[in-house]
Amino acid sequence: MSATAEQAHQEGSKKLFMVVWVSLLVLTGTEVFLAYQNLELKLMLIILMTLSIIKASLIIAYFMHLRFERASLAWTLMPALVFVIVMMFMAFPDSVRLYEMTPE
């Protein structure tokens, strides 16, 4: 019991989780603030995706504990996931072409 208690203490104190939680709320607030600025669509998409990827990384690293697991687990899971998602974007630029070809 004392070993696991020590482990729980080492791998993430209450304070650390509170800091992560507050950062996530602040990032969400920033996104909502940006929505009220009526930015151009593509710029908005890029900024929002960047912020969301930061939020997702915080959740994976601290809440999902991946930072404290053996590195082999992260190296097995994450590159595969990123690769598949990047592949999905292969045809994405075509959406811009469709937009520009839309008759007024």
């Binding site: 019991m1 696991t4 208690a5 482990q7 729980a8 993430g12 209450k14 989780f17 509170m18 939680w21 996530l24 709320l25 969400t28 996104e31 909502v32 940006l34 929505a35 009220y36 009526n38 669509l41 593509k42 908005m44 998409l45 929002l48 995706m49 912020l51 969301s52 939020k55 997702a56 959740i59 994976i60 809440f63 999902m64 504990h65 697991e69 053996r70 082999s72 687990l73 097995t76 899971l77 595969a80 996931l81 598949v84 998602i85 999905m88 974007f89 045809a91 994405f92 075509d94 959406s95 811009v96 469709l98 937009y99 839309t102």
Partner: protein, 220 residues
């Protein structure tokens, strides 16, 4: 581990490397140093993340390609969705507290934190269903809506619907784990594995919220 395998198998093997690999294949090694339950949940999460990514990429594709994409989310909807995001993020915090308490062996506090997390999920669902009913009342259907690109309804309802399903399943999962943990049927590790799932559901919303709501907001 490698040493034991060497001595067990004797002179049949030449290098320590070969013995270490064999012992891993025989179930002796643990390359990730996690239990099979946890690894299983991680693999499920990666495959589920790919499912959601496919839907999100398809949605974004149609969104960028459509000049007449509807922007039905005015300030009250954005405030509602922001509150939903806050609720889900806070439920992730209570989930972390539940995992922590379970590792410390604090049964009643684990039970309490898990129920707080499930309550957050229920609140999220209620707010989301209210949002859906509002849109349906305004005339949004799967393949038609009063404002523009007909696909808006299909994209919105399939994406948020799949997420809502995940939240609902998560609530049931958390309640089952909470009750089982109190009866010592489930261990601290089971609580941790259910936590992985719950954080993942939270993580997916971190992409749905900006892409679906903020990108289709009509503000100011």
């Amino acid at each position: 581990m490698a040493k034991e395998a060497m001595s067990a198998h004797g002179p049949r093997h030449v290098g320590a490397g070969a013995a270490a690999i064999e012992s891993a294949w025989e179930g002796g090694g643990s390359p990730y140093a996690v239990s099979s339950k946890k690894l299983g949940m991680w693999l499920f999460i990666v495959s589920d993340a790919i499912t959601f990514s496919a839907l999100l990429v398809a949605y974004s594709y149609v969104r960028v390609a459509s000049a007449a994409w509807p922007r039905p989310f005015e300030s009250p909807s954005i405030v509602n969705a922001t509150v939903m995001t806050g609720v889900l993020l806070s439920s992730s915090l209570t989930m972390v507290m539940a995992v922590r308490a379970s590792k410390l062996g604090a049964v009643s506090s684990t039970f309490g934190w898990l129920f707080a997390t499930a309550a957050g999920g229920i609140l999220f669902d209620i707010l989301h269903v209210r949002e859906w009913l509002g849109l349906i009342h305004e005339g949004v259907r799967l393949f038609s809506n009063p404002w523009g690109t007909p696909l808006f309804g299909a994209a919105f309802f399939s994406l948020t619907g799949l997420h809502m399903t995940h939240v609902t399943i998560g609530v049931v999962y958390l309640i089952v784990v909470a009750l089982g943990f109190r009866r010592s049927k489930f261990s601290a590790e089971d609580v941790e594995v259910s936590g992985l799932y719950w954080h993942f559901v939270d993580l997916v919303w971190m992409f749905i919220f900006p892409l679906v709501y903020l990108m289709s907001a009509k503000l100011g």
